[in-house]
């Protein structure tokens, strides 16, 4: 089955990012295809490059980056959600004098069109986080 995922809540304060990540692991182990993970609302903070949790804690951002580098899962951060909350894409940051390295490796910034494409093209679309 082709599955797309939407994450609406920030990491650490909410369980959404953890539940979603475990769900994705189980889905892939079960032979399903994870087509895209779309980060929306406060979920965009899952892509904050400078997140540095203590060494004995799970590193949620790094875990996502590895999902992209190891398993090739497409990680998309909503551009308007991210701009509103201060995570800028490099070219935009350059233009407005913002921080150019806000987004962690493996994520890309794009519009809601990519969410729609994922919803339309997947057999299941599952949202995590209120």
């Amino acid at each position: 089955m082709k599955i797309s995922i939407q994450i609406n809540a920030s990491p650490y304060q909410h369980q959404a990012a953890d539940t979603a990540w475990h769900f994705i692991q189980a889905a892939m182990a079960g032979g399903h295809e994870v087509y895209r993970v779309f980060f929306y609302h406060d979920g965009i903070y899952n892509a904050a490059r400078d997140s540095r949790p203590p060494g004995d804690e799970r590193d949620i951002v790094k875990r996502w980056s590895e999902l992209n580098s190891n398993d090739g899962v497409d990680l998309v951060v909503c551009v308007s959600s991210a701009q509103r909350r201060g995570l800028l894409e490099q070219s935009v940051a350059k233009k407005v004098g913002g921080y150019e390295k806000a987004i962690a490796n493996g994520f890309r910034i794009a519009g809601l069109g990519l969410l729609m494409e994922a919803i339309i093209d997947s057999d299941r679309h599952i949202t995590f986080g209120a």
Partner: protein, 130 residues
Amino acid sequence: MTQTAILPLALKMKTLFFIIDKALHGNVCAQEFLDIALMAAAFDQKVVLLFEADGVNALLKNQQAEALELKNITPILNALELYDIKEVLVEKESMQAWGLVERQLAIAVKVVSRCEIQRQINLADHSFSF
């Protein structure tokens, strides 16, 4: 719409059911949530919007979101028809719980029972809440 011409996958038409069950003003979530519904309509998907629980208050006339320095949602509600979103449902039981009648609402809606809503959600390809 021109967008669909370059996106052949958008020819697939799904029914997407959006549930608004929280007050619209106070944070940016509802606005971002409605953005998904509008984008879905722009992708020629069949969009059904449901207002229930606290969400029914969003439909009231004379909202003054400007007092909170927030965007007023009413113009978006008025624009739904332009986006070809014709199915705007309100749960009858929620209207009664809040003591509301249809003439107090800013736009034309279909008042439907909880039981009918359940039937319609079951018919949809995907349902969304925030």
